[in-house]
């Protein structure tokens, strides 16, 4: 364009420039139009109702911040690193929720990474076939999968029957209604959400980079550590973010598989909604949302948005 406008003088040149700008603006408008239906849909059917629900925290039943009071009212104190921290059930539940989400995320990563790696290193057609096995759990409702875990973990479940039959135990292990069962059930549900972004990023890694590293003298372990691992980090970040944030909102699995102290925030929210304490339910939901956004912000701040959602391609 520079060469084109080089010889144009005065008004001619300005006219030309203006026309190009006009064209560019029209181009931009076209993208806006393409996005419009989805944006309108989201605002009308998601944004508005969610906002309407969450704002209840500030006026239901009466205007003010009283819905947040139970969250900051200390019912007891907990000694932690020599400090006594004010505590109540709601803070405990938020803490338990974060703990569960963190463990689920870390274990899902440890289990999902090798699977995604294997999927990304076979041919695309075979990977598509194997991907079906990753996705099969998606076809079954969360409830049914939770029940499947009950069949496995129960006092007379398959695992205990096997242990007793093999003579490895004389008393059945307590597996069901424990934190362990919650982890198992949630990790089972979350694994595909970890594997898919990992796989997408790993597929995008140029295999020639790995060959080049080998050619330059790197044994397979060094190729993985120095090349593959760093290039797969955007997938790790995206997978962890997805799993962590989805885990924060879990409800059915902990309710069915957990013990008495495995209470997650969404169970509390449900409780408040059914008690018709919508304002307090909204306050809990709002805090959970802020927590999720905060963690998202932290992730993108530390890793950079581009690394979380960007690709590994050069």
């Amino acid at each position: 364009m520079a060469a084109l406008t080089h010889d144009l003088q005065g008004a001619d040149r300005e006219g030309q420039v203006a026309r190009f700008q006009h064209l560019r603006r029209r181009e931009q408008w076209r993208y806006v139009l393409l996005l419009l239906p989805a944006v309108v849909f989201l605002i009308a059917f998601y944004g508005y109702p969610v906002a309407a629900m969450l704002t209840r925290a500030f006026y239901d039943p009466v205007p003010g911040l009283q819905n947040f009071e139970p969250l900051v009212t200390a019912r007891s104190t907990v000694e932690f690193l020599g400090l006594s921290i004010p505590m109540n059930a709601y803070i405990r539940v938020f803490w338990i929720t974060l703990q569960i989400a963190a463990v689920v995320t870390i274990v899902s990563l440890l289990l999902g990474y090798p699977v995604a790696y294997a999927l990304s290193s076979v041919s695309a057609s075979r990977a598509n076939l194997l991907m079906i096995f990753v996705l099969i759990p998606f076809w079954t409702s969360i409830l049914v999968r939770s029940y499947a875990w009950m069949v496995l973990l129960g006092k007379e479940g398959i695992i205990n029957e096997a242990l007793l039959a093999a003579g490895l135990r004389t008393e059945p292990l307590v597996l069901l209604n424990t934190r362990l069962a919650v982890y198992l059930g949630m990790i089972h549900i979350m694994l595909p959400f970890m594997i898919l972004p990992l796989y997408a990023v790993m597929r995008g890694i140029d295999r020639n980079l790995l060959r080049a590293a080998g050619n330059l003298g790197a044994p397979p372990s060094a190729v993985f550590r120095r090349i593959f691992l760093p290039l797969s980090l955007p997938g790790v970040a995206a997978g962890c973010l997805l799993v962590f944030i989805l885990s924060l909102g879990f409800y059915i699995t902990p309710a069915l598989l957990g013990g008495q102290k495995d209470v997650m925030v969404s169970m509390l929210i449900q409780q408040q909604i059914s008690l018709l304490k919508w304002g307090f339910g909204a306050a809990l939901a709002l805090v959970l949302l802020i927590l999720a956004l905060g963690i998202y912000a932290l992730f993108t701040r530390v890793l950079g948005v581009e690394r979380v959602f960007g690709s590994a391609r050069t």
Binding site: A89, V93, S274, L276, K277
Partner: protein
Amino acid sequence: MIQRGLTRRELVRRYGAAAAGVALLGPRALSSVASAQEATPVALPEIPAIPAALKGSGNVVVASWGGAVLDAQLKAYIEPFQEMTGITVTVADGPDPSKVKAMVDTGNVEWDVVQLGRGDVLALDGYWEEMDYSLFDTANLDAALMRPDSFAMVLFAEILAYRTDAFPNAPEGWKDFWDVEAFPGSRTMPAAAQLPFLEGAVIADGVPMDEVYPIDIDRAFASFDRIKPHVVKWWEAGAQPAQMLTDNEVPLAVAFNGRITPVKEAGAPVDIQWNEGLLAEDDWAIVKGAPNRENALKFCAFCTLPAPQARFSMLIPYGFVNSKAAELIPADQLARLPTAPELRPKLFLRDEQWWAENRESVIERWNEWILE
């Protein structure tokens, strides 16, 4: 969720009928106390001619909990009602109290009659049309159940359920349930999503059944402290205790009678101890501003007639509210109903008014207590 179709049938096969109805983990109502018992062909009593005042035209929208309860309601109430009155019934699904609240708050009332626990009706004070009993045949109704804003449609019991193979002697009541030496093993009890079972706690601590209300909350929680280490699960859905008994996860449970009868009849070594059982009700209530109020009243009045009441209790093991219904039900079926003449005296009625006043503070305290 898994209300219908293949998944439900598979679950039924695997866990017995109780598991299939677990879908709704949530508000207290019959949804979670109903069994998914497969309908066995029973000869239902005929409904005699009805008063002309109940006949009419047009439509009425009834919000019910679906599943097995709705199946029974269709045969007991809804189909004969349509036939005999000329009024069309539209069935809506899932009468969540929060939905009623939303409808009335936004002036967008779509439902006429909803089926809700009495506690939910009380919690939504001011959201209901006044019940006009002039259309009702009140001769055989319990006046205590005729509230100004709702009418009890069904009575169900929260009872002690146990495995018959676990103990030499059957537990006799809540004292035995709390006695972990005489009756060793794990327990399961309702969590806060249902109401915490304070009544059982104070009875176990020595309060007679008919002096439970007003409940001494401190005493109840002190009693809970003693049983807490032995409760492996505070259940959220009515299906859970029945399943845990069937799977031998626990030998003792607090459960809804309608969940236990089907697994017992399916052959599980499980039985009900009716002693000191808590009788609770689900009500018909007419939503404030209901578009078909008149037809809604006719529907409620029809349902309380002896024959429809008997039909319902024969289709699903929940109690009738019209005492004349007992005459229409065969003896063997009567024996499994909490309102059977010989069982009713063993039970006490939940004081919904007390709960309406104390529910919030009890659950708040419960939330703290459960995490201690």
